[in-house]
Amino acid sequence: MGAIDREVDFRAARRRLEAKAKSAGEKLATLEAAVARVADGSHVAFGGCLYSRTPLALIWALLRRRPRGLTISRNLMCYEGEWCMVAGAVEKVVTSWMGIGLPWGLSRIVREYVESGRVPIEEWSHLALGLRYRAAAMGVPFVPALTMLGSDLMGVGGAKTVTCPYTGATLHAVPALFPDVALLHVQRADRFGNCQIDGYPHMDADIARAATTVLVTTEEIVDEDEIRRHPDRTVIPGFIVDALVPVPYGAYPHECYGRYDAEVAHFSEYVAAIEARGAAAVAEYLERFVYGPATHAEYLERFGAAALADADRRGHELTT
């Protein structure tokens, strides 16, 4: 059975969901306990987009377990995908785009790993990947769409067309993507896992519904009453969530809307090291930032309190 067959198998995905507890109880866990739920060989979907609200603390904790054989998916994959490649954690990347951004040019790590055939990228358009999560969130094997038709992307990931039974039009039958695990980072949640997101929602609500297991970090845990006062702001209801970890700066040095800005100077340093030393620079980076610090708080200390405060200041300036 090919990867896509498993990813679109809505019957099996439904059975997996029916078999698990959908509790209204407490979801609080440690980072270590949360990522212990990720089995080798799993399909892991990351929330956020590019360097915005990336669940970096969860990815940090996951990589420390030295996972193997993962498929990772994300709408726009940033350098966390490079970490997974160099750490030997991934077999395949599913995305619409991978890099950091225009000023940093092509990713040398992506070039090295993909051009040598070590890690393939399965490319979808941004909307098509979004609709893959949405079809899964809807519990159906595909949704019809008008995008990607005619392009060579149709031949890459196993996409098929369907003839509309009503109008006869040719439509892209965008296949569902049911990830085994979703990793998400949000601004606020109560201890039961009811999550609220500020600013742009990206694809997190769909990814949470599409996955079998949902692991979330939150900037802060708020009182149940605060969630109940603004239930309209809750985009992921608690019974969907399996583990919730309070991690302030859980997306840092990526941005978190309304809280802190991204550290683009840090991205430039990271890329400059890769330009100088290739994948070895990523391995050194992982030693320094991922495997080295014993706790996530220690990881943050490597950036320093002044940097965090400055990111806070910019983040507030941009959203008020």
Partner: protein, 242 residues
């Protein structure tokens, strides 16, 4: 020049880089009622001069936005037909306006792995008209792209409609040398205008395929003092001005 292709009261799906700057300029000159839509899930931002976003998915891109829908939903606005213009940056481009941002060489073992489609495929597939803004270089303007990431007119004629892409198409390619439109029948690129001081031979020398020249060939008007001043204000660090 890209800014002038946009009209007031339009909705514009803006790609990263130079199209963002051009759209922000149009908003501040002749198109105050233009709504900018950005793929990160952002509607109607009004960017702060000197604070142009470097990605479509960051807080700068959302500055003073009117709405922040989910990414999938912002693209679905384009699929529904709400977006008049898609405005994206260039890559490898062929005479039919097909774009490649995926691979140079073979897909499975590429000579160069490029970053990928992102939203470009969706913007070019779903907006009513599409304007491509690009640097004019021979290595970019090729007779055939290695991979059609984002479909222009595909093989020409009615190939695009036959693939199922019923709405919209690439209408203009604005470059550092001039402006192309597309012949109505063949849907091949045609030189419609050159920038002041640029000759047709200059354009031919920087283009890897033959193209017809519109009769009469227009010459674009140079940027006004006002446009230049606004551009410098918007992008004082010259991130996108080059």
């Amino acid at each position: 020049m890209g800014a002038r292709e946009l009209a007031d009261h339009q909705t514009v799906f803006t790609g990263v880089g130079a199209p963002m700057l051009a759209t922000a300029l149009a908003q501040r000159t002749h198109a105050p009622h233009l709504t900018m839509v950005v793929e990160g899930g952002i509607i109607g931002p009004h960017w702060k001069p000197g604070w142009l976003p470097i990605s479509t998915n960051e807080m700068r891109a959302a500055y003073r936005a009117q709405a922040l829908p989910a990414i999938t939903d912002v693209f679905l606005l384009a699929q529904r037909g709400f977006l008049d213009v898609g405005f994206i940056g260039g890559a490898q481009i062929d005479p039919y306006g097909n774009l490649n941002t995926t691979v140079i060489g073979d897909y499975d073992r590429p000579r160069v792995r490029l970053p990928g489609s992102g939203g470009a495929n969706d913007i070019i597939s779903l907006c009513r008209q599409v304007i491509i803004l690009t640097v004019h270089e021979r290595r970019r303007f090729v007779a055939k792209v290695d991979f059609v990431t984002s479909p222009g007119h595909l093989g020409g004629g009615d190939a695009r409609e036959r693939s199922g892409l019923l709405f919209g198409a690439v209408s203009r390619v604005v470059t550092t040398l001039g402006v192309f439109d597309f012949e109505p029948e063949s849907r091949r690129m045609r030189l419609a205008a050159v920038h002041p001081g640029v000759t047709v031979d200059d354009v031919r020398a920087s283009t890897g395929f033959e193209f017809p020249v519109a009769e009469p060939l227009r010459t674009t008007a140079p940027p006004t003092e006002d446009e230049l001043r606004l551009l410098r204000e918007l992008d004082p660090a010259r991130q996108f001005l080059g």
